[in-house]
């Protein structure tokens, strides 16, 4: 189901280097290992959410209080965040999110397709800068660059993690 191949550890080390201290998430299979790593690290506060927009508000508060955070979600969750993201645009609050994509590469579930196809455009429309990673190498570079853009240049930045990196969900297990 998940052919992630060690990139979660690499992303986690980037997050540590950037002194990310709050990791908010609504689970996705593609983020499962990274979520485990965040929970296991005493320096990181891993915050499970009931809906993704909570993560936008939470991390705005974190930054106002002097801590950096990251929001981990899948593309369906982006749609839950739009009005809350408007706050980041108005206040120019730094924000980093890593979005695992659904509804694009060999998707089995047709209900995932509309939101997956709209994800990138919606994020741009609400003022979030969008990076995309199709390979593990691109992903490391993208997360590192996005972190700097977010927290050094005070911008809202999303890294979209291509569905082909996560692999097909096995619907017949």
């Amino acid at each position: 189901m998940n052919k992630e191949g060690g990139w979660s550890e690499k992303i986690f080390s980037v997050l540590q280097n950037m002194e990310i201290r709050q990791a908010a998430y609504v689970p996705d299979a593609g983020h499962a290992r990274l979520i485990e790593l965040c929970h296991a690290d005493a320096r990181m506060k891993a915050v499970s959410l009931t809906t993704e927009e909570e993560g936008v508000a939470l991390l705005a508060g974190a930054w106002l209080g002097g801590e950096r955070g990251v929001l981990l979600m899948q593309s369906s969750g982006v749609g839950n965040c739009i009005n809350m993201l408007a706050m980041l645009q108005e206040c120019r609050i730094p924000f980093l999110t890593l979005v695992t994509m659904r509804g694009e590469w060999g998707e089995f579930n047709p209900w995932q397709v509309p939101m997956g196809q709209a994800t990138s455009g919606l994020l741009r429309d609400i003022g979030v800068i969008v990076y995309r990673a199709d390979t593990a190498e691109q992903l490391m570079d993208a997360v590192n660059a996005a972190s700097h853009l977010a927290f050094d240049a005070n911008r809202a930045v999303a890294v979209l993690i291509a569905q082909q990196m996560i692999g097909f969900k096995d619907w017949h297990k």
Binding site: V56, A57, G61, L64, G65, G66, C91, R92, I93
Partner: protein, 199 residues
């Protein structure tokens, strides 16, 4: 309805009483009337007013509380704003921030849009929801005596705590605090973080 549950409190008086004891607590207000209430008490660099982001006040307060575990964080928001972010009560309860207090100024109405009734008018119990989620303490306040008993809980009890203050559904004069996002952000960060704010 028992006499105890008659709604007699005035929102401006209640918020003024709560903020009288704020000390160096950090304050987040939800959009609309509770932002005007805080502004009527007096603008303060430890205040961060939401002029939008409806449903986000309590969880934004959680983010501040986790980042500043040695400072008290108070959220004052309205019943409509809190109802939009009910899931946040569960998220906050699971995190158990000892330094977070939440006040819901509950006039059972959407005050900015024509006083339409909210769910609390029809019996939805926000203090009960917080208790069911696992808050350390929560209660609904109808009287000045109950408010007096609760102010110290908001600032000193091990959180998260939530108080619903039932207030009359009367519109108070709109008092506008600063609203420019970058200004509010820089002022709050400067007051909380000092020299670290620019980084």
């Amino acid at each position: 309805m028992t006499q105890q549950n008659e709604i007699i409190l005035d929102r401006r008086e209640a918020v003024a009483r709560i903020l009288e004891d704020r000390g160096d607590a950090l304050l987040i207000t939800g959009l609309g009337s509770t932002t005007w209430d805080a502004a009527a008490v007096g603008d303060h660099p430890h205040n961060f007013y939401l002029w939008g982001a409806m449903g986000g006040a309590a969880v934004l307060g959680l983010g501040v509380a986790l980042a500043q575990p040695h400072r008290r964080v108070l959220v004052i928001t309205g019943d409509g704003e809190m109802l939009m972010g009910l899931g946040g009560l569960a998220t906050i309860a699971v995190q158990r921030p000892a330094n977070l207090g939440i006040v819901v100024i509950d006039n059972e109405s959407y005050g900015e849009t024509g006083m339409q009734k909210t769910h609390t008018h029809h019996g939805v119990d926000l203090a009960g929801l917080a208790a069911a989620a696992g808050f350390s303490a929560s209660r609904t306040i109808y009287s000045r005596d109950e408010l007096e008993e609760t102010v110290s809980v908001l600032y000193a009890a091990s959180g998260p705590v939530l108080a619903v203050v039932k207030v009359k559904a009367t519109l108070a004069p709109t008092v506008l605090p600063p609203r420019d996002g970058p200004y509010l952000r820089d002022r709050f960060r400067g007051a909380v973080l000092g020299d670290r704010a620019a980084g």
